[in-house]
Point group: C2
Chain length 217, copies 2
DNA sequence: CCTACCGATCGGTAGG
DNA sequence: CCTACCGATCGGTAGG
């Protein structure tokens, strides 16, 4: 990464973080040196320490803020309705949109937990577990209401959580589908995984074109 | 990682690779030094070079062999039947079992592609793309036969591919489900994602206990 | 299989 | 914001 246009006064704590998350995501935390970050900002490595305390502090800040945003968005999605199927739909859309709108932050959070030292490592893991538990609770409630049908809600929750990563790998800005459309399709997959299908379509069991929109709930 | 029992004569090329894949998976390639690998084998770093050419050669060997095994297993799974739904089921089981039986090899393949130099990097990416294309071809065929119902086969294939990673994150040896049982449940998820559902169950639309086995095809 | 050692690079500090 | 520099660690080699 190279930032072309920067005058010295414009380098801020947030600017350093932005460059850092990009390089951490592209090359990995260990493979990114403070000199790399400085170079991308057009300065020398020691100058970075006017903005950040340490390399690890940069990583910690990136991971906490991304995780807290994901959790807040998830809780907002679940609170938006009382229908458990709609809650799962909104939760999955929120999940996928984290991947699509903040791919670098999510990549760092997924790959660099092992680069953290305690106590941050445990705290980030706790937040990640809380995120997953939100999905598991939804699925268990849907099952107990007789609306969802899965053998193991826990297993289904992990399937849905990891499925979101596929969206990131696949997504290309300006491609066939927008972020919101991809999120919608993945939320349809999530509902299918827990056994919620379009009843009418299931009964008639008619072929539907792969390129059509007949799969929408 | 520490290997407790090793006499010098027992250290082989394969022994070095086995230790390396474990440490690469646990800590990452960059965070693992040749001294770490040597220590786990009870020797000094320079002695490793009697068994391997370089650190990167170790990584390359690990990634090629894991990728080739996954591809061979996938093709065997697809060749085992002519029914496209059964092909997808077997392919997904094969995918999940890679994660469950070779979690370290899969982790290294997923995380360390960026640690490779050319031309190996491009070759591994080509193999990974071939693997994904196998799933996409299956789904496209199922759709054109009117058996599968998805808006975008490509998007569905990525959802299924990434879903497999959830199995690895979740799976604990000796837990509630065996590897084969987890693979079976994930293959059921894959069929649901592409719109293949148990017709009778869908019609009656009856609640089914989450802990039951009513979701089996 | 070992010790001794190479040049390169790392995160970070001193001092201005 | 910079230059100069620190001790630590890296992959790998020499030589036995």
């Amino acid at each position: 990464m190279r930032v072309e246009n920067h005058s010295r006064a414009h380098v801020t704590r947030e600017g350093v973080r932005k460059v850092a998350v990009t390089l951490f995501a592209e090359r990995g935390y260990r493979a990114t040196s403070m000199r790399d970050i400085a170079e991308a900002l057009g300065m020398r490595a020691p100058s970075l320490y006017n903005h950040v305390r340490s390399k690890e502090a940069l990583l910690v800040e990136i991971m906490y803020s991304a995780m807290d945003r994901a959790l807040a968005d998830l809780h907002a999605a679940i609170s938006s309705t009382d229908d458990v199927a709609e809650q799962l739909r909104h939760a999955t859309e929120s999940l996928v949109l984290q991947f699509l709108f903040y791919p670098r932050e999510v990549a760092v959070n997924n790959n660099e937990i092992r680069s953290l030292n305690e106590p941050h490592r445990s705290k980030i893991i706790a937040k990640r577990d809380e995120y997953g538990q939100g999905f598991r609770d939804l699925i268990e409630r849907g099952c107990s209401l007789g609306l969802f049908h899965v053998e193991s809600p826990r297993l289904a929750s992990y399937a849905i959580l990891e499925m979101g990563n596929g969206a990131k790998v696949w997504f290309r800005k300006g491609g066939l589908y927008s972020e919101v459309e991809v999120a919608r399709q993945y939320s349809e997959f999530a509902l299918r995984i827990v056994g919620v299908t379009d009843f009418a379509k299931c009964v008639q069991h008619a072929p539907i074109e792969a390129t059509g929109d007949g799969t929408r709930g």
